[in-house]
C-alpha cells in the first residue's frame, strides 16, 4: 500500500487574507503590493495570461509558471477540487491508486483577527469530512490542532470524537503559526494520542508557513510554560534570548523568529513525557538543514551560516531529527518538500543506505500543493525516485505502519 503521508488541500478561503507573503515566500511589502495586484482584475488577467502562455510553450520550470501553478491550485473553488486535481495527476502516472494523508491546518490564529480567513477552521474540516465520505479508502485526513483555538477546550466532542469515528486518522500540528509544541494546553492531546496510537504530523523546517500577525513577540515569553517532563529547557530559553537580542534585521522578520517554534528540540520535553508517541517530524528539517554548509546554493548556504552563528548551534536540525528517530521507537520523519532538492535527496539516499537514517522511519510525502512552488509535483517525485532508487519504495510503504499500526 503506497501512501503520500503529507499533502494539503486547503483553498485560499481557508487561509488568512494576508497569506500570500507566506505562500510565495516574499517579504511583507512585496506581498502587500502583489496581493493588491492580484486582487485587481487586471492582475488576475495577467496571471491567467502568463499561465496560459507558459503552459503553451511548455516551460514548467520557470519561476512565473511555477508560481502561477501554485496560485492556480490554491485559488481553486473548493478543497475537493484541489484534492481531485492531485488525485487525477497521480492516477495518470506511475503512482496510480496511492492513498493520501490530507493535513488540515487551523489558520484562524496565524494572523491578526482582522485578517481571519473567509472560511473558518470549522468549515474547512466540514468540507474535509465530506471528502472522506466521497473517498473513504483514498483520503486519510489529519485534524489540525492549535492550542489557542477554543474549540479544543471541548476535547471530547471536537477532537476525540472525530478521531474515534476514524473520520480523521491523525493530528496535524503547525507550531510556526504561533505556539510551542510543548505548550501545556496540548498535554491532554498527547496523552490521548499515545494511549490510542494516534499519529501526529508536525512541521519541522525553517521554511513554510508562519505567524504573519503584527506582534509575534507577544506569543513568545522569555520562558514559555512547558509540559513538565523533567527536560531541561535551558537550551530553548537561551535560543529565545538570542533571537530577542539579535541586531541583524534578518532576525526581526516573522519568518525567522517563528523558527523558535519549530526547532526539533521543542519536541524533546513532549517525548520525555510521552516516549511512545507516534510523532512525525516532517521534512527532515528541510533542504537547508539536510545540506548545511555543503549546499551548492550560495545564498542558502550563507543564510544557513548566519542562522547557525546566531543560534551558536552545534548540530543541524537534520542531525537532531536523526537522533530523535534513533532514540524514540515511534518517531518518524518524511521527505515532503525536501524531495524537491536533488542534492538533499542524494544526501538522504546516502544516509538511508549507510543506516545513519533509519529507513523504516522515513515516510514518502510531497507537501502538495505547496511544493508546486518548486516545480510540477510528478516531475519532483520522479526525480526523487531516480535518486532514492530502491529506497523510494520502502518510503512509500512505511506510511502503512505510521498510519495503521
Amino acid at each position: 500500500m503506497n501512501i503520500n503521508a503529507h499533502t494539503h488541500i486547503f483553498d485560499s478561503q481557508c487561509a488568512p487574507k494576508d497569506f500570500l507573503k507566506v505562500g510565495l515566500n516574499i517579504g511583507d511589502n512585496t506581498a502587500a503590493l502583489l496581493e493588491g495586484f492580484l486582487q485587481n482584475k487586471i492582475g488576475q488577467g495577467v496571471v491567467n495570461a502568463l499561465y496560459g502562455a507558459s503552459s503553451r510553450i511548455g516551460k514548467h520550470n520557470n519561476l512565473i509558471s511555477r508560481y502561477t501553478e501554485f496560485l492556480k491550485i490554491g485559488t481553486m473553488a473548493t478543497q475537493k477540487d484541489i484534492f481531485e486535481f492531485n488525485e487525477q495527476t497521480y492516477d495518470s502516472n506511475f503512482l496510480a491508486g496511492i492513498k493520501f494523508v490530507v493535513l488540515t491546518l487551523d489558520m484562524d490564529y496565524m494572523s491578526d483577527s482582522k485578517n481571519k480567513p473567509v472560511a473558518d477552521f470549522e468549515s474547512q474540516i466540514d468540507e474535509v469530512k465530506r471528502l472522506k465520505q466521497y473517498y473513504p479508502d483514498r483520503v486519510f485526513p489529519f485534524l489540525g490542532v492549535d492550542p489557542r483555538n477554543p474549540r479544543n477546550l471541548d476535547f471530547n466532542n471536537n477532537v476525540q470524537s472525530l478521531l474515534e469515528s476514524k473520520t480523521f486518522s491523525g493530528i496535524k500540528l503547525y507550531p510556526s503559526h504561533g505556539f510551542f509544541p510543548f505548550d501545556p494546553r496540548l498535554d491532554q492531546l498527547y496523552s490521548y494520542a499515545q494511549q490510542n496510537n494516534i499519529p501526529i504530523m508536525t512541521h519541522c523546517t525553517r521554511s513554510g508557513s508562519f505567524f504573519i500577525g503584527n506582534n509575534v513577540w507577544s506569543l513568545i515569553p522569555d520562558a514559555p510554560e512547558a509540559i513538565n517532563a523533567g527536560y531541561s529547557m535551558d537550551g530553548i530559553y537561551n535560543r529565545i534570548q538570542l533571537y530577542k537580542h539579535a541586531t541583524d534585521k534578518l532576525f526581526k522578520q516573522n519568518a525567522r523568529i517563528c523558527n523558535l517554534f519549530l526547532h526539533p528540540e521543542n519536541y524533546l520535553p513532549v517525548l520525555y513525557k510521552y516516549p511512545k508517541l507516534k510523532l512525525c517530524l516532517a521534512h527532515l528539517g528541510g533542504e537547508y538543514e539536510v545540506l548545511g554548509s555543503l549546499n551548492n546554493n550560495k545564498q542558502e548556504k550563507a543564510l544557513f551560516e548566519k542562522i547557525y552563528a546566531l543560534e551558536a548551534a552545534t548540530k543541524t536540525w537534520y542531525q537532531w531529527i536523526k537522533e530523535i528517530l534513533k532514540t524514540y521507537d515511534n518517531a518518524y520523519s518524511d521527505i515532503s518538500y525536501t524531495l524537491s532538492s536533488g542534492q538533499a535527496m542524494q544526501t538522504v539516499y546516502n544516509d538511508l543506505t549507510s543506516g545513519d537514517l533509519p529507513k523504516e522511519k522515513v515516510l514518502f510525502g510531497t507537501d502538495y500543493f505547496l511544493v508546486e512552488q518548486e516545480g510540477q509535483e510528478m516531475d519532483i517525485v520522479a526525480n526523487a525516485k531516480k535518486i532514492l532508487q530502491g529506497e523510494f519504495q520502502t518510503l512509500l510503504s512505511n506510511g502503512k505502519n505510521y498510519l495503521f499500526q
Binding site: 482584475k41 473553488a77 470549522e122 465520505q133 479508502d137 469515528s165 476514524k166
Partner: protein, 378 residues
C-alpha cells in the same frame, strides 16, 4: 424643444445600451457579479460562533453544479436552489459517520457507517439543535418553528428570506459598479467621440432633417422596443469598430461570440440614425487640427457635400483666434464629460424618459384637433 429632448434621449438610450452590453461583458469576463454574490452570501451566513456556512453552501453539490469551472463562482443562485442547499448544509451537522479500517497485507478496506435521519425537515431541526447559540441559530430556529413540520413551508420561508436579502444585494451591486460603468461610458464616449454639446448644436440646427428622423425612430422604438431600422448612412468610426468585431467573431468562446453579436447589432442601431458622432475630420477635436495646419477638410473631401457643409461651420468657429480654439477644446471636453455622465445612467433610465416624453408629445397633439373642431363648429 420637445423634439430636441426626444432626440437627445434616443441618442443617449442607444449609446447607453452599448455601454450596458460592454459592462455585462466585462462583468462576465472578470466574474465580478459572481464574486459579489459569493461575498454577499458569505456575509449573510458567516456565523462566528459556529461555522462559515456560506462556504459550505457554495461547496454543496446543488450550488457547485452551477459553476462554469472550478474558478468561477455562479453569477446567480435561485432562491429555490439556495434554500435546498442551505437546509441540507444545516441538516448535515446531525449526520454521524464512522469508519472501520480493515488493514490487510494487500491494502486497506474502509467501511463507512452512516447515522442519518432520512426526513430532511427533522434533519434540519437536529442540525440547528447541534449548533452553538448564535444569531443565525435563533433565526433558523424561528424558521423551523414557523414551518409546522413541513419541508415545503420551511423551504419557502428560507427562499423568501434569501430573496429579500438579494434585493438589497442588487442595490449594493449597482452602487459598487457605478465607477466601472462610468469608466466604460467614458471609453465609449472617447472611442465614438460622443460630444453632447456638438450633438445639441446639430439638433438645434436640424442638419439633414436629423431631428425628425430621430423622433420618428423614438416613436417606433417606444411602440415596438425590439424594432430595427435599416442603415441609411455609414459612419466611418462605427464601421471601423464593426470591422474589428467582425474579425473577432471567429473566436472559439461562445460567450464572447454572443457579446460580439450584441455589440454589432447595437452599433447597427446607432449607425441607422446617422448620428453626429465619430472621429471625422469635420468634427471636433479633429477639425481643430485640420484648421490649424490650414488644410481645409472641404478640399480633402470635395465629393462629400455633408462634410463640406459641416466642416465650413467648424472653420468659422476655430479659424478666428487661438483663444477661440482653446474655448472650442474646453467645450469639446465638457461635451465628452456630459456624455460620460449621461451614458452612465443606463439604458433603462433613458428608455423610461423617452417613453414619458413620447407620451407628452402624443398628449400635446390632441388639443390642437379640439381647437380646430371648436373653430369649425363656431
Amino acid at each position: 424643444m420637445l423634439d430636441v429632448l426626444i432626440s437627445f434621449c434616443l441618442i443617449y438610450f442607444l449609446l447607453s445600451n452599448l455601454v450596458s452590453i460592454l459592462f455585462e461583458w466585462y462583468s462576465q469576463k472578470t466574474k465580478s457579479r459572481g464574486k459579489f454574490l459569493f461575498n454577499a452570501v458569505l456575509s449573510l451566513l458567516n456565523d462566528r460562533l459556529n461555522k462559515s456556512y456560506g462556504v459550505l453552501v457554495y461547496s454543496h453539490p446543488l450550488v457547485d453544479a452551477l459553476k462554469k469551472d472550478n474558478k468561477t463562482p455562479p453569477q446567480y443562485i435561485s432562491s429555490s436552489v439556495f434554500a435546498d442547499a442551505f437546509i441540507d448544509v444545516i441538516g448535515r451537522q446531525s449526520i454521524k459517520v464512522t469508519y472501520q479500517n480493515i488493514v490487510t497485507n494487500d491494502g486497506i478496506q474502509v467501511i463507512p457507517t452512516e447515522e442519518r435521519n432520512s426526513n430532511p425537515f427533522e434533519r434540519f431541526r437536529l442540525g440547528v439543535d447541534s449548533m452553538k447559540h448564535s444569531e443565525l441559530k435563533e433565526l433558523l430556529r424561528m424558521f423551523y418553528e414557523k414551518s409546522n413540520s413541513s419541508y415545503d413551508t420551511l423551504k419557502l420561508t428560507i427562499a423568501v428570506w434569501y430573496d429579500d436579502y438579494m434585493e438589497r444585494v442588487s442595490g449594493w451591486y449597482k452602487v459598487s459598479t457605478k465607477k466601472t460603468i462610468r469608466i466604460i461610458a467614458f471609453m465609449v464616449c472617447i472611442s465614438l467621440n460622443v460630444d453632447s454639446i456638438r450633438i445639441l448644436n446639430v439638433l438645434l440646427r436640424d442638419d439633414n432633417n436629423l431631428r425628425a428622423n430621430l423622433v420618428s425612430g423614438a416613436e417606433q422604438l417606444v411602440q415596438s422596443p425590439g424594432s430595427y431600422r435599416a442603415i441609411s448612412d455609414t459612419n466611418k468610426t462605427i464601421e471601423t469598430i464593426k470591422e474589428v468585431i467582425k474579425q473577432s467573431q471567429s473566436t472559439k468562446d461562445s460567450i464572447n461570440r454572443i457579446y460580439l453579436a450584441r455589440l454589432d447589432s447595437s452599433l447597427d442601431q446607432i449607425e441607422s440614425y446617422s448620428l453626429p458622432i465619430g472621429w471625422v475630420s469635420s468634427y471636433p477635436p479633429c477639425s481643430f487640427f485640420v484648421n490649424k495646419s490650414g488644410d481645409s477638410a472641404c478640399a480633402k473631401k470635395p465629393d462629400d457635400t455633408t462634410c463640406v457643409k459641416k466642416t465650413c461651420d467648424t472653420i468659422c468657429i476655430t479659424k478666428t483666434s487661438d483663444g477661440r480654439l482653446l474655448k472650442s477644446i474646453l467645450l469639446w471636453i465638457a461635451g465628452i464629460f456630459i456624455s460620460t455622465l449621461t451614458l452612465s445612467f443606463g439604458a433603462p433610465f433613458w428608455f423610461d424618459v423617452l417613453v414619458n416624453l413620447i407620451n407628452i408629445r402624443r398628449a400635446g397633439a390632441k388639443p390642437e384637433k379640439a381647437v380646430t373642431t371648436k373653430a369649425d363648429n363656431s
